[in-house]
């Protein structure tokens, strides 16, 4: 099947998959592929996206696509890149490695570090839905403070997840990755521009997408894009670009929203609005505040104080 129709590229990740209605990751992946075009090879980690797009014998992918394991998409992609170059078949092909937040920030970190450090010409996309959704919404190191997951449940002794999000974009920067950016499906044009830009840069690229998860976050399907927008407008998810270690672009929100507007519609934060939840809300406010102060200039650690 040709991905071109009337000269226009249409869905390289086709609908008809078994993902939840409103899955932020599905929207994100479709946009990534749309921007990347048909001359890519994708290495996908285990996770929701992999499972719901390739239930045998069906596949949503109109590009060559491989799934090996949960934690090795970056390494599989590294092998593809080096081999295609060695065989002289690399010229008009680009390689994308993609995984969820768990496959990226936790179990896949070693292979990703190797891919970054060796300088492979690969775009790595992290679809961050802030938990291990495929296995039933467990906590990852990208789950935000206070969030309820099935392994960070609130209870008399707990207010949910205790830790802050690992700063994976800065981990990429620390490896000397020349292009690092964040985006959300709420701004498709911005997301696609970043994919295109990344693919024009030689070397490793890291794109971190916040992608709401309907059941995992406890939101209505039709709200998923709106929730992504609110994450940006509350500054709980900062949107930026870092080129060669310098923050070159930061999304400035026109009308900053209080964090509650983002948190309230999500069941995973409901317990924070009960008596005693205020300190966690305050911590989230501090994180948003710190994110809002991001400025163009040298990329330094943020979101940890």
């Amino acid at each position: 099947m040709t991905p071109l129709q009337d000269g226009r590229i249409i869905n390289l990740m086709e609908p008809g998959h078994t993902g939840c209605a409103g899955c932020g990751q599905a929207i994100g992946a479709r946009l990534v592929l749309k921007a990347a075009g048909p001359r890519v090879i994708v290495a996908n980690a285990t996770g929701c996206l992999e499972v719901y797009t390739t239930t045998y014998p069906r596949s949503s992918w109109e590009v060559p696509w491989i799934h090996s394991l949960f934690e090795n998409a970056s390494a599989v992609a590294s092998g593809m890149e080096v081999t295609l170059k060695a065989m002289g078949r690399y010229e008009d092909v680009r390689i994308i490695a993609q995984a969820g937040d768990g496959g990226t920030a936790d179990i896949g970190m070693g292979c990703i570090s190797g891919m970054f450090e060796r300088g492979h010409d690969i775009l790595y996309v992290c679809y961050d839905n802030e938990g291990y959704m495929n296995t039933g919404y467990q906590r990852s190191s990208l789950t935000p403070p206070g969030a309820r997951t099935t392994t960070s449940p609130p209870g008399p002794m707990s207010w949910g997840n205790k830790t802050r999000k690992k700063n994976v974009p800065l981990i990429a920067v620390a490896h000397g990755v020349p292009y690092v950016a964040t985006a959300t499906p709420a701004e498709p044009r911005d997301l696609m521009r970043k994919v295109k830009k990344a693919l024009e840069i030689e070397g490793p690229k890291y794109l971190h997408l916040l992608v709401p998860c309907v059941p995992g976050w406890g939101i209505e399907s039709e709200l998923s894009v709106e929730i992504a927008r609110l994450a940006v407008e509350t500054y709980l998810f900062p949107v930026f670009e870092i080129e060669d270690g310098m923050i070159t672009k930061v999304k400035k929100v026109k009308e900053r929203k209080p964090i509650e507007e983002y948190l309230r519609p999500q069941k995973r934060f409901a317990h924070l609005f009960k008596p005693g939840g205020e300190p966690i809300l305050e911590e989230l406010r501090e994180i948003a505040e710190e994110n809002s102060r991001l400025q163009p200039g040298p990329a330094v650690l943020f979101g940890r104080t």
């Binding site: 090879i41 239930t55 596949s59 696509w65 491989i66 799934h67 090996s68 590294s78 092998g79 081999t83």
Partner: protein
């Protein structure tokens, strides 16, 4: 060309002759010299391949998986802890039907940590769907690597060439290295039936549920069973071209009239041949020997036929399925499947680099001749470390 080379170097030269597109590994004793030699060849311009310095064995196995999936000829090497760290990828490579070739420089497995030779590493990964070929000397290591790529690519099944760490990898022996043009004729460029290619997109590594998973496993199994014939044929072709290396799945030595048959894998077989000669010449014992070269797929029929007349069989092996017996021994027994079989005993020897002497081997044969009954025994244990263990 006959040259004096260290085993690792001989393997590196054989791999170079196979023109891999991708070499990727992570250092671990006693595999290190192989990958050092290959990186030197790349640096010297003698080998035109992508060479990736992986961050771990897990990464290395994943990298060769990727290289193979885009249609490259891919090679890696490891040992022991490295092989176990690769385990998840090892199964995956086989399930994806990618014809990767690996050298496993056999080494003991931790704990206790031990860098010396036994075969626990490769044996522990036997169910992964890789063809496993155990070599006896460095010439066979050279020949088997060249055969391995051909076997793997014909069957789309990965091949692991297992060679005893140190005993072979670090030993200098004269080896005959084939000429490049001969190897090129024997092993044409790899052209896979399917690979990841934007001109012909396809999906590799789907989620397969209860409706079809079993059939995919069935097909891999049947192809593995078939592989025994392919291995035999490729080895015959090889020996027609190169005048050696014709041993397919097993080799037999003096088994025809033997009452006692000894069985093993790898480098100890040389010593065992000498032991058999001496037992026959000096003690009049009718002893024979089987070399299991292909451990997976298991050469059930060949093994069965080779020992069915024997009274008793002693399997000398450098691995143990803790809580049972030596694994090779179990599989020898399974070859009889309810049929009346000779007594088959398990002798666990040479773990973690413990020497297996000709004397030890002869004693096993003598003991079996006087008492053929089936048993499981450790041989060569140090009395002073037994603390009066009376079991």
């Amino acid at each position: 060309m006959r040259v004096m080379l260290e085993g690792s170097r001989a393997v590196a030269e054989a791999v170079r002759l196979c023109r891999p597109n991708l070499v990727c590994a992570y250092p671990i004793t006693p595999q290190t010299h192989i990958v050092e030699d290959l990186s030197q060849m790349v640096a010297d311009g003698r080998l035109d391949a992508g060479y990736v310095l992986a961050e771990s064995e897990f990464g290395a196995a994943s990298i060769v998986l990727g290289g193979s999936a885009v249609g490259g000829r891919a090679y890696t090497a490891t040992s022991s802890q490295g092989l176990l760290l690769m385990a998840e990828v090892i199964f995956n490579i086989a399930g994806l039907r990618l014809p990767v070739v690996m050298t496993c420089a056999n080494r003991a497995v931790s704990a206790p940590i031990n860098i010396w030779n036994d075969q626990q590493d490769a044996v522990s990964i036997r169910d992964s769907g890789w063809i496993q070929l155990f070599v006896e000397d460095n010439q066979e290591a050279v020949d088997t690597h060249i055969q391995a790529f051909k076997i793997a690519e014909e069957l789309m099944i990965p091949v692991m060439v297992c060679m005893d760490g140190y005993v072979l990898t670090h030993t200098w022996e004269p080896v005959d290295l084939p000429e490049q043009d001969e190897v090129d004729r024997f092993l044409p460029l790899y052209s896979p039936a399917y690979r990841l290619d934007p001109d012909d997109p396809f999906t590799m590594g789907s989620m397969v549920g209860p409706d079809a998973y079993m059939e995919t496993r069935y097909h891999v199994h049947m192809d593995m069973m078939e592989a025994r014939a392919v291995i035999r044929r490729v080895c015959e072709e090889y020996s027609e071209t190169f005048g050696r290396g014709g041993t397919g799945v097993i080799d037999t030595y003096d088994t025809k009239d033997a009452d006692v048959v000894l069985v093993s894998m790898g480098s100890v077989l040389g010593t065992m041949r000498d032991a058999v000669d001496e037992l026959r010449d000096e003690e009049g014992l009718k002893v024979g020997l089987i070399k299991v070269r292909c451990f997976r797929p298991f050469p059930t029929g060949a093994v069965h036929d080779a020992i069915k007349e024997a009274q008793t069989v002693g399997v000398i092996e450098k691995d143990i399925s803790l809580g049972l017996e030596g694994t090779l021994c179990s599989e020898m027994r399974a070859a009889f499947c309810g049929e009346e079989s000779p007594e088959i005993s398990s002798f666990i020897m040479g773990l973690g680099g413990r020497d297996i002497t000709k004397g030890d081997i002869k004693q096993v044969a003598r003991d079996l001749a006087s008492n053929p009954a089936c048993r499981v025994e450790f041989r060569g244990l140090r009395e002073d470390l037994m603390d009066g263990d009376e079991r």
